[in-house]
Symmetry: C2
């Protein structure tokens, strides 16, 4: 592989440049001609399809249905919930004309769908019998980004799913919020091998219009946190202005309780950054569009048939067990070039099959995570491939978990806080719960409260900034 | 079922009102608050998911991959292909501001993606080794509709898929166009039970920017044609302005050849209109989100366990064979109410299970298409359900095929043409191939050329309008 095709910078030397090279050279995505927008290419989209497939199955198992709501939302809808409007308007793309005609009211290109969804729900909900409504949307949302584009992480449009539910009681809504947070956690930790801290957002950091927000926060190799997914209890903040009322079993009229929740392709960015190395991408097996690549190797025409036939039959065997297998039959590239390309693309396992492997009734297996090479006897191929994939999945998670743990520092002194923050990571610190201290910490250090533990942890000092009695343990960090 | 909930108008009396009632009362879709837009509700979206699942599988089997391109397209891109720009601008939604800031160039909310796709392809294609590119997009497109909204049929936004390919030669592009047209035909005829005429569009009716367009045309019960899907050879009309060039095996630089093709949720509209009856929807089994609904029936508490247990075990049996089964356990509705509701929703088969069925080791089966009722002995349930579903699928197609054939009239006289057109249907007529005659026929009768047969048919008279020697047999109709 030529220098131009491979990654030319070390991950530890320049994470940002390394990231950009991995995304573009592994053909996950490309920059669109308009600033802020990206094109997600087939290999990147295939990862999104794996994520989508997993979540879609989990949502349906928990009685959610998919639906579709319009891409354009009247300005008047956004204005109905004041904090929500104020939060989103600076980044809304506004449609003002249809053809030659000026519109009487501006339409927002969907920045999120709460308002338009609840406009419909208010028509559909009459009685307690109509609740709960459990709907998920797969779509894209647009929020103008002024800062430099970073594929998957900072773009003016991104693919995501947004769930919107309506319930009879706050308790039902609370349960929904937590059920979804747990599905997200399983996706992120078990499928994507990314360990996270789960918790609540502070008042300052919660979703605009929410009663409270729960979040999952990962830690990137440069010591900055990344928000992976959020699940919100919206209380009655939307049901009141949208008049989403129902007649209860008690014959009284009540406002419904709403939740919303979403994850986006940003998770792919975290996966790249966390697991990749100097050779490129490393995709956890459970989320990999290609789990096993088979490279047939022969230099003499006389060997071609035996080698390619064996490659085909191994592929068939593995596919029958549900594995995603690609056989690289291309003749214009050398085996060495192919090895480098599939390593760049992060395929977890490579099987090499040459004349000697045919002769010895074996295949040569190479792991992407630790480069170990094993000769596998023919009867053992499926079992060994499955074992290695499971081991790689665990290995990636355990590595990331160790890194995360090493990057959680407990501090009780503000000078120490600032010093450790330069190293990066989560800072576990006590907090008086005042917005003033939270605001001051951000202004003075750039760190925000990423999350407050789901179950309050015992305080161990006064507030990290003001020294007054602390009410909460919080996890601070700089973030993406 | 109360009058308010059931369909209150006969299909034959007022097709338009009947259609609206079926769409809204079967909860397929609802009108959004903004004129021209609709919300697709879970039951309607589930039909779209069946269509999408089928096509996605077929596209992948034929080596296509999915990707995602931005929802906003710079005005300058659209302008690069003049006919294309002229065709789309009257209906484009224009974004002029991001937050408070006026944009330097207007952005179109995606009316179709040819231009932005080819802007990227031109960067990706260098050599014949990079071809073909076979990419499909699942997204929504927006085209401002001034006429009254009709769910699935005339809306300012619709869900669809758009395929965009690049090839080395015209022949490769021709083959792609026909391969996709055949996949569409199989979806529409074999899955959706809608017979179609396949053929070419005339120059006047082809896609703006295409070399030629192929189409599949169905006939609705009111005698108007509906375009179900199109597949275009774009020639080099886009590759030249977008400079999509490649170095051939011959070491010369060539422009690529492109195709594009798409089907939308409009097919769902045709399915509703063609198969529905006075009781509501009738969904062909192969595309039905619920293929079998089971209604447990008991009036005495003592029967509850036996009946519900049998309902559950029959559901399990059918699901294990891959059937989509719903058991309606709701207690606040009577069995009669449920029968009406599931008929309104077009579920192909209903199984009723009461105490007598338990006693006699049978289930009672009712077909949606002909209301026939059968008692099925327990050992035969799966076989009989599968047989009935296959029969219903065939029956719906054969009925629709007979209607289509009855609505193809051959004419060689223009007065007769006008007279038969009032009855509706396709008019098979000879045509001199001039745009003038085509234009005049449209102005004088409202009929357009829906399609020209894939293989030229033998002319049997002079041109239907001018009487001069005819070059083509064409199928004319009024259309949706």
């Amino acid at each position: 592989m030529s220098k131009e095709i491979g990654i030319t910078v070390k991950k530890a030397d320049d994470l940002s440049e390394w990231y950009t090279q991995v995304v573009t050279k592994a053909e996950l995505a490309d920059y669109a001609s308009m600033k802020g927008f990206m094109v997600i290419r087939p290999y990147g989209y295939a990862i999104w399809e794996r994520i989508r497939g997993y979540l879609d199955r989990r949502f349906k198992e928990t009685n959610h249905s998919n639906a579709y709501f319009p891409a354009l939302i009247p300005e008047g809808f956004l204005k109905k919930e004041a904090a929500h409007f104020k939060g989103f308007t600076p980044e809304v793309f506004w449609v003002t004309h249809a053809g030659e005609n000026a519109l009487s009211e501006r339409l927002a290109v969907r920045p999120t769908s709460e308002t338009i969804v609840y406009d419909s729900y208010s028509k559909w909900v009459r009685s307690w019998r109509d609740l709960p409504i459990l709907i998920n949307l797969w779509n894209s949302v647009l929020r103008a980004e002024i800062a430099a584009t970073r594929p998957f992480l900072r773009t003016s449009e991104f693919l995501w799913q947004e769930g919107h539910t309506a319930h009879a009681t706050k308790e039902d809504a609370d349960n929904e919020v937590m059920q979804i947070l747990e599905i997200y956690r399983q996706l992120i930790e078990e499928e994507m091998a990314i360990p996270v801290l789960a918790g609540y957002k502070s008042e300052r950091e919660k979703f605009v219009g929410a009663l409270y927000t729960t979040t999952l926060e990962a830690m990137m190799p440069d010591g900055k946190a990344m928000q992976m997914g959020t699940s919100h209890n919206l209380g009655q903040n939307f049901s009141v202005p949208f008049e989403m009322k129902y007649l209860g079993k008690d014959e009284q009229v009540h406002y419904a309780w709403n939740t919303s929740w979403g994850v986006s392709w940003r998770m792919i960015g975290a996966m790249i950054m966390l697991h990749g190395d100097d050779r490129g991408l490393m995709i956890p097996p459970r989320i990999a569009p290609i789990q096993v690549v088979i490279v047939p190797i022969y230099y003499k025409a006389a060997d071609a048939d035996a080698v390619t036939n064996k490659a085909r039959s191994v592929a068939k065997l593995l596919r029958e067990s549900g594995l995603e297998v690609h056989v690289d039959f291309r003749e214009q590239y050398t085996p060495g070039w192919k090895f480098n390309e599939w390593e760049l693309k992060g395929v977890p396992l490579r099987l090499e099959i040459g004349p000697r492997d045919v002769e010895k009734s074996q295949v040569s297996l190479v792991r992407r995570d630790d480069s170990r090479r094993l000769a596998i006897s023919d009867g053992m191929t499926l079992a060994e491939v499955e074992r290695c994939l499971a081991e790689i999945q665990d290995n990636l998670f355990n590595r990331a978990k160790s890194s995360l743990e090493a990057l959680i520092g407990q501090v009780s002194d503000y000078d120490q806080f600032k010093k450790i923050l330069e190293r990066g990571g989560f800072l576990r610190a006590c907090w008086c719960s005042s917005g003033e201290c939270e605001e001051a910490i951000k202004a003075e250090t750039g760190a925000t409260i990423r999350t407050l533990p789901l179950t309050d942890e015992t305080t161990f000092s006064g507030c990290i900034r003001c020294g007054k009695p602390a009410r909460k343990v919080a996890y601070f960090a700089r973030s993406y």
